[in-house]
């Protein structure tokens, strides 16, 4: 089957490094799907084929893995995927308010993508940032903590200008203040 997707030589090198970590090739499945998703933005069936071919594993295996794990995008998503956490601590601290604010602001519902293809919104399960609730993660990458409506406005503006927010290090409250 002709495939519209191809790994770059750097990708293939990275995949070799991944394979070298394990005694078998199958364990490379998850990390290689990650390489693919970071390259193509999703792992649609054709990309799953590419991963299977590259690793010489059955397509059914790769498909089974891709569909089991929620972070893999089985269809095209917005350029920026806003994963708003709404599980317990975030729920208690206004996670749903933040989700609804975003939905209104962008004119889409959770699970949808804006017409211009810029943003998708998802309501997701606990991201392990419970003390910094409410929070969201952008496209499986940076965490944005202690959300407010103003902070969301700023983040959306900066993403429209193609600028990802920077990683925020949240310290230990017991440590002496350092700047």
């Amino acid at each position: 089957m002709a495939n519209n997707y191809e790994f770059t030589p750097e990708d293939l090198k990275e995949i070799e490094t991944i394979k070298a970590k394990f005694p078998e090739v199958m364990p490379a499945t998850l990390p290689t799907l990650w390489v693919a998703q970071r390259r193509f933005g999703h792992v649609e069936p054709e990309v799953q084929h590419l991963v299977a071919e590259t690793l010489d594993l059955p397509v059914s295996h790769v498909h089974g893995v891709a569909t089991f794990y929620t972070q893999y995008y089985k269809e095209k998503m917005g350029k920026y995927v806003l994963d708003v956490c709404t599980t317990t601590s975030c729920q208690l601290c206004g996670g749903y308010d933040m989700l609804h604010y975003l939905e209104n602001k962008l004119g889409i519902k959770a699970g949808e993508t804006t017409k211009d293809g810029m943003f998708s919104i998802q309501s997701v399960e606990c991201l392990g940032a419970c003390g910094y609730a409410p929070m969201m993660q952008i496209t499986n990458d940076v965490y944005v903590n202690n959300l407010t409506e103003e902070k969301l406005d700023e983040v959306i503006e900066s993403l429209k200008a193609d600028k990802m927010p920077e990683f925020e290090s949240v310290g230990m409250p017991q440590h002496t203040e350092r700047s």
Partner: protein
């Protein structure tokens, strides 16, 4: 307890700037414990015994003595043996292991290396949840630095001990924190928990002997070697000792991760350490150790301490020490419905009582939440939970039935 928590000096995540950098870590005594155990004064059995005597109870949720678990590994037969480090951290309310990745990664690496030596493992894998992309990068950097300094690899520090150490990530699945599901995921498959026995110590990764430990558990190990088992077991609660990372979230003024001894009174943690309730509200309920531990009423917390015994008496568990604090305005039905949605969403679907049960829990709670609840529904909930407990491959179904 008249313990003066303010004077406690953190040891798992000490207040030292840039400790995540390997040079700063070694300047502060880092990797000395590894050097110590690789010296002629120690052998693997002695390390296992020391760690067993310290009674580090697993910080991943189940609270099992780490050294005792290590002693279940069969005798080396020349084939590969593994240590798999659990950094899945997906239990709602839990956000502590990432602090170690960020602020003291080498303490964890050193602990894992000592554990690998004690069990004569040939390779170590650390599995980190896929969402923690930023922290996976930090661990990759820390591991590279440790390789470059000769703390990992062949003939470590000239001792003749070889071990490889790799980081790998998940891709979004709470169930992969369950240890055998994590092994499946590490092997590149869907994270379906395995039926036990065989236990991982017999047949773990690729059918070989494997031990699974939590990140914080392993981070305690260099401290035990450095200061002795007696020092460790003398901190905090007698039957559940040591320093521990409390993650406090919800309706408090100063949420965050705090390192303090085990056995702290929950009310001290909420009212003093975390700065008290937000907006001066009253405390309604507490989930003491992550969402899988039963919720406690706010008016029944007098005298309850954060250790296994005290929490069991109160009707709950220590879990991951991820405390979720709820104020008087919390809608309990709303909260329960959301967490039931979580368990339903995260059930891997292998076992009928779990797959169906979590679905029904969510449906009934949704009905009650929408104001259509009947007394019958409560009976149905209790009945459902009793049919889920203890009848499945892994403990997710139990957790869903407890909260």
């Amino acid at each position: 307890m008249s313990f003066d928590w303010k004077s406690y000096t953190p040891v798992i995540i000490p207040d030292i700037p840039n400790l995540h950098e390997i040079d700063v870590y070694t300047k502060n005594g880092g990797y000395d414990s590894l050097k110590e155990v690789l010296s002629d004064d120690w052998d693997p059995t002695k390390v296992v015994n020391e760690v067993k005597a310290a009674n580090i109870r697993g910080r991943g949720g189940a609270g099992f003595n780490a050294g005792l678990k290590w002693s279940f590994m069969p005798k080396p037969d020349g084939g590969p043996r593994y240590l798999a480090c659990n950094g899945d951290e997906s239990e709602p309310g839990t956000f502590k292991d990432r602090k170690i990745f960020e602020y003291n990664p080498h303490l964890f690496i050193e602990g894992a290396l000592i554990a690998a030596y004690a069990m004569q493992c040939s390779a170590i894998y650390v599995y980190i949840r896929g969402e923690y992309y930023s922290w996976i990068k930090m661990m990759e950097k820390a591991l590279k630095d440790a390789y470059d300094k000769g703390f990992i690899g062949k003939n470590i520090l000239g001792s003749g001990f070889d071990v490889e150490f790799h980081v790998t990530g998940g891709a979004g699945a709470y169930i992969c924190g369950e240890e055998t599901s994590m092994l499946e995921s590490l092997e590149g498959k869907r994270g379906y928990p395995r039926v036990k026995p065989p236990f991982p110590a017999q047949k773990g990764l690729w059918g070989r002997p494997t031990t699974i430990n939590n990140i914080e558990t392993l981070s305690c190990v260099p401290l035990v070697i450095k200061n002795g088992a007696d020092w460790f077991s003398g901190i905090g609660a007698e039957t559940h000792p040591g320093p521990v990372l409390y993650g406090i979230s919800g309706h408090v003024n100063r949420p965050g991760v705090y390192e303090l001894p085990t056995g702290m009174p929950v009310l001290t943690l909420i009212e003093e350490v975390a700065g008290g309730m937000r907006n001066g509200k009253k405390l309604k309920g507490l989930i003491p150790g992550g969402s899988s531990t039963p919720i406690l009423r706010g008016d029944a917390l007098e005298g309850v301490n954060m250790d296994a015994d005290s929490l069991r008496e109160a009707g709950s568990m220590m879990g991951t020490a991820g405390m979720i604090v709820m104020d008087e305005d919390t809608d309990m039905v709303e909260m329960l419905w959301r967490i039931s949605h979580f368990y339903h969403h995260e059930s891997c679907g292998q076992c009928t009582p779990c797959r169906e049960g979590t679905g029904w829990l969510e449906k009934i709670l949704l009905k009650i939440r929408n104001g259509d609840g009947e007394i019958r529904d409560l009976e149905l909930l209790i009945d459902l939970c009793s049919q889920m407990e203890g009848r499945t491959i892994c403990a997710l179904a139990d957790a869903a039935a407890y909260y």
